[in-house]
Symmetry: D2
Subunit: 142 residues, 4 copies
Amino acid sequence: MTLPENISEKLHDSFAKQSMMTTFGAQIDEIAAGLVTLRAPILEGCKQQHGFAHAALTFGLGDSAAGYSALSVIPLEAEVLTSEMKIHLLAPAQGDHLEAVGKVIKPGRRLVIVQAEVFAISGDARTQVALMTGTMVPVLPK
Amino acid sequence: MTLPENISEKLHDSFAKQSMMTTFGAQIDEIAAGLVTLRAPILEGCKQQHGFAHAALTFGLGDSAAGYSALSVIPLEAEVLTSEMKIHLLAPAQGDHLEAVGKVIKPGRRLVIVQAEVFAISGDARTQVALMTGTMVPVLPK
Amino acid sequence: MTLPENISEKLHDSFAKQSMMTTFGAQIDEIAAGLVTLRAPILEGCKQQHGFAHAALTFGLGDSAAGYSALSVIPLEAEVLTSEMKIHLLAPAQGDHLEAVGKVIKPGRRLVIVQAEVFAISGDARTQVALMTGTMVPVLPK
Amino acid sequence: MTLPENISEKLHDSFAKQSMMTTFGAQIDEIAAGLVTLRAPILEGCKQQHGFAHAALTFGLGDSAAGYSALSVIPLEAEVLTSEMKIHLLAPAQGDHLEAVGKVIKPGRRLVIVQAEVFAISGDARTQVALMTGTMVPVLPK
């Protein structure tokens, strides 16, 4: 399925307005219909007490990837809000950067069910550090 | 129940080592046995696309408050890791700062079940913006 | 807040149509606005391998109590569906019967966020065996 | 990976002791290392108000499949308990029977992270009706 050019623009515009993504040093890696990949370095200011990526970074990246995957399958004028999200932290988020792959499990007019997998990349090694499932709510502008 | 002085020290030491908490401008407000309150301003660099607090801030603060509430009820030499956490986002996180109240639902040697409520404070108004439940794993030093 | 008589009727009608509730021997204990209590004996046919109540019974009772609490705060003509539910099992469900207290955390036109607590009753003892949070979706008849 | 014969025996023994599985008419379809499939008809006594399978059946089958997948990867003398489980209900559970595929996401000595997918089978059609993720706790006999 080809993705309309204006959907890509919409995601990049929304992403640029999230100052937290700038603080995280995050960027959009790939956008497809129902599948969005984000990436962020593990910055000095985003760590927990053992020097691994903080769960707030892992969660924030995964939640955004999942949200943008939902955004890619709803009407162009709508936005999405996260209603709920569960995260399983599977391994210490150790390495150079994190990669979050968000995808749509079940699209819908009222709710979009999403999943995200987050990986820590250290040189050639890619370790899954989180599995997330959640509920996105499409919101039309008033 | 009075909290031993060294538990308070342990929490403050651990908190100070989390660079993400410094980036968030977060601080410890209150520590009691099984109940920890954290607070953070909604900084310019921690927002989503509408200017509200980003879910990564809300999650990170609630997860840490919940984790520290678990830390307050386990042996002094042990640490805790978040195994899983679910967050319901109940309202836009709009205001001056966020307050996260973490508490222990069920203590245990192998697992500690925790809850966190996050509030947005705007002048005199205090609105609940998130409800979280999760699983913390006590880890003894090797 | 007084509950209109026809809401109580609506809940009892819906409950009577759920054959699973009959199989469980469940009944409605109390209906208030945003708060519904169900109860069921721990029948011989509803146990797990140690003779405690099976998680399917605990979940089913809590999910229904939560769903009916949502049903009590939405328009009379609407129904609700569970979209997602998380359950923490806190203790073995041992005793004479289970009691599930469902309540609305945040009402809404599109989503109702709910909570349920399930207790095992054994003589005079009442032990919390589960904590649940979830998302109910109001559905209007076509 | 070949599964030792005595693991299969252990699962069948445990399954036979769960009276709820008998009430559901459930059976074990397949056992592999870290992957267990269960199946149950949608009996007259296990329905919700629209005649679809009740969420308690869907949950109970998925939870058991996930639990047995964990049981297949832990020491033979240990059992597992569900600590927490989240279920997304994706579609009405309509058809002849349900099939639940449980699998291990991350094995561990203290915790086993699991997933289950539940499908409704109606003639040749197989529709996913639920996605679950959860935490199993291995318990050694005292």
